[in-house]
Symmetry: C2
Subunit: 442 residues, 2 copies
């Protein structure tokens, strides 16, 4: 039997016997000749079958023709035939004249979703939705992006962690925590690997990373939130300030975007009409207070009681950065202590602000990073100030009592990066199987 050839490799294959496997995208069942467009994970090709006629012009016995006429869209099959390069064929300049079809699994004739189906309906039938090349491309890009990040980390001697998602107590706040029945007790799903990745610092790991799930029982419906998401985390020892973390972070983004542009740039342009821009370093950095001033000058007053930015403010400052520096990224730094968690280190000169940042990409926050407070007395004080009970945090505080290096890191939402890179309308498009307050299936 002929070995399967991936469809993308047909162009560089020599004419002659060939075997391809994939699913039926379209069938054109004409009187004299039949065409099938077969797609696999790498591309699509036209299969052609000239019908057979008797000498008197009546249709002859033709098993292949009958098979093709009975094909439903989505049927998975292996086709064997003669590969022929022909530049008149629009689809890749090749076609396969069929010798035979072997059906792996017939699709039922029903097509539950169409091009104009709403996103909810499409998510119900996600496995069909993902057959669309534009949609599956997202996950090929994600694969390339993640791999580039991991290669950067490996080259720089980071250790990969798999921190537990089951916890005995809350990591940050009791709000938005999922509760799990755990034998005779309760457990909680980790909202982030925060405490566990910090633990690697007093453990002497030096530099660590993790890409894994995180869970938030957030009942809100926005385009940017999910109850389960993939968190990209890194944490490093012996930093001078959050600046060290930002430097690593921007180098990672450059590595990721470079790999994506190289491997998928042409396809992204073809399917999304977008050119991927590899960001230049250093990314612009703007202290939050300054960012609010700039936004106010543009005529937007952030409607918040606290010192935080809001989504519209983030869009405005991103627009300013784009106009001024031609950059899609901006680090907003020096967030007020009042709106940051107790474990963010505060500025040595001005305790009202923290050594922390948010990374904004195309107008939306994708990440929060910071230097962590590693001085136990200060840490306990800051926890109390936030109304937390140090006793409940005891297992975490122990990490600091037995020696710890200065350290910091970031957490970043993977699907957010993809969403903003491809200018997708919401997170659901950038998630293999989305989970939200009312979505637990498929």
């Amino acid at each position: 039997m002929t070995q399967r050839t991936l469809i993308k490799n047909l162009v560089s294959s020599t004419d002659g016997p060939v075997s391809v496997s994939g699913w039926v995208e379209t069938v054109r069942d004409q009187k004299k000749v039949q065409f099938v467009v077969l797609r696999d994970e790498s591309g699509a090709v036209q299969l052609v079958h000239p019908r057979i006629f008797n000498e008197d012009g009546t249709p002859a016995d033709d098993a292949i023709a009958e098979e093709i006429s009975a094909l439903s869209q989505g049927t998975f099959l292996t086709a064997t035939g003669d590969l022929k390069h022909d530049e008149r064929v629009k689809l890749g300049g090749v076609e396969i004249k069929l010798d035979g079809l072997e059906i792996a699994a017939r699709a039922i004739a029903e097509t539950p979703i169409a091009d104009d189906s709403g996103v909810d309906k499409r998510m119900d039938w996600r496995f069909l939705d993902l057959r669309v090349p534009k949609n599956s491309l997202i996950f090929k890009i994600q694969t390339t992006f993640e791999h580039a990040l991991r290669c950067y980390w490996i080259d720089n001697d980071f250790v990969e962690l798999h921190t537990p998602k089951l916890m005995a107590s809350a990591s940050e706040s009791r709000a938005e925590l999922f509760e799990v029945e755990y034998f005779e007790t309760k457990a909680y799903l980790a909202q982030s690997p925060q405490f566990f990745k910090q633990m690697a610092q007093p453990a002497g790991f030096g530099k660590i990373f993790e890409i894994g799930p995180a869970f938030r029982a957030d009942p809100s419906f926005t385009s940017r939130h999910a109850t389960e998401f993939t968190s990209v985390d890194a944490e490093i020892s012996w930093i001078d300030s959050h600046e060290t973390v930002m430097t690593m972070h921007e180098e990672l983004m450059v590595a990721g975007f470079t790999a994506v542009k190289e491997k998928h740039g042409a396809e992204i342009e073809a399917l999304y009409g977008l050119e991927v821009t590899v960001p230049t370093t250093p990314f612009p950095r703007i202290a939050l207070a300054e960012a609010k001033r700039i936004v106010a000058e543009r005529g937007y007053e952030v409607p918040r009681q606290d010192d935080d930015m809001d989504p519209e403010g983030e869009r405005q400052i991103a627009a300013y950065v784009k106009e001024t520096y031609g950059h899609e990224f901006v680090f907003l730094t020096d967030y007020a202590s009042s709106i940051r968690p107790f474990y963010h280190m505060r500025n040595a000169e001005d305790g009202a602000v923290t050594n922390s940042y948010d990374l904004i990409f195309n107008g939306v926050e994708i990440s929060t990073g910071a230097q962590r407070e590693h001085r136990i007395e200060v840490l306990v004080e800051q926890a109390k100030e936030k109304g937390l009970d140090p006793e409940e945090l005891d297992f975490y505080l122990d990490f600091f009592r037995y020696g710890v290096p200065p350290h910091g890191g970031f957490g970043m939402g993977l699907s957010r990066v993809l969403m903003l890179m491809l200018k997708l309308p919401n997170l659901r498009e950038a998630t293999y199987l989305f989970r939200g307050p009312t979505r637990l299936t498929p």
Copy 2:
């Protein structure tokens, strides 16, 4: 200020001013000279300080000496001084004559664990336990192993998935499922990505992988089980049989072991007294019935009512394979249909056995793989036969109704591989933070 040098790089550095950062492992506070062994993530180095005396022989003012005398084990600090190569120094042939110490965080003098502490006590203080080079090495090896697997997958055009861990219903059986309070309803934690990774096949992804957490509410206490573990999964389309899956699987193991041996072989030999063996391919394959016959010939009757192997049987067959073929791995194949899940494809000639396998490494099962049944009528029939209600499985069965390629894959426990590679006594040693029926902390 002098840039930090990693301790492992001191040997190749030139003599002169140098700065290192790490934690205090030991202090030898002698009358004429003081020694500190400082360790970082890359190694350990001796810091030396000759005490200063007045002309009359009495101790002079000596701030560094006082600082050293006050050092507690575990204190994190930055040391600056003069690097000197001296082959008489046992620890790496270099030492640093101190100019100054900058304390990052003092450790309290207490040392909650010692060399002879029990494993439970050590797990309570895991961040201290991981400062021991032998223990942290495990996670460096794991990092290298995983990266080699991912590089193999990337080179072979696999797509990386992040499947949801929150599910609306059971994936395989209702037993051993953790239940989550999910807004107005219940969710369950995925025991494996089985259904979701299979979904990628009718979605046309071709080949996929995932390394992520899986959860089993298994109340048993064994050296091989955890309630949360890291599962290594792959699934591929257009296979001929489980043989295609086994070929990929053994190539992956070779890639992983080769990388580990190259990068950590010497250190594993030094700290564990073990030589890493890169397995040869093909791995031995033995049908389960034959394996039971061999084991019986060795005088061991598997004490089970069903057709399965037991742990002692796995050890026996592994011993046989080691003696006969000199191989640490063996694929046990053709497991009986009665003891395999409904979605395993059955042998075309003999429906009593499945196209499935377990991979045994050093006598313990580390993985289960199989060709999946992709013919919807057969699949529904097999589900019913196992007492499952096809309606409850409807979302899964849909994957097969709209066309699907023949496919198969495996799931493998990451910590098990590490445990058996390093001959560790239990899974807890090979897990960053172990989770068991009575362990949810730290």
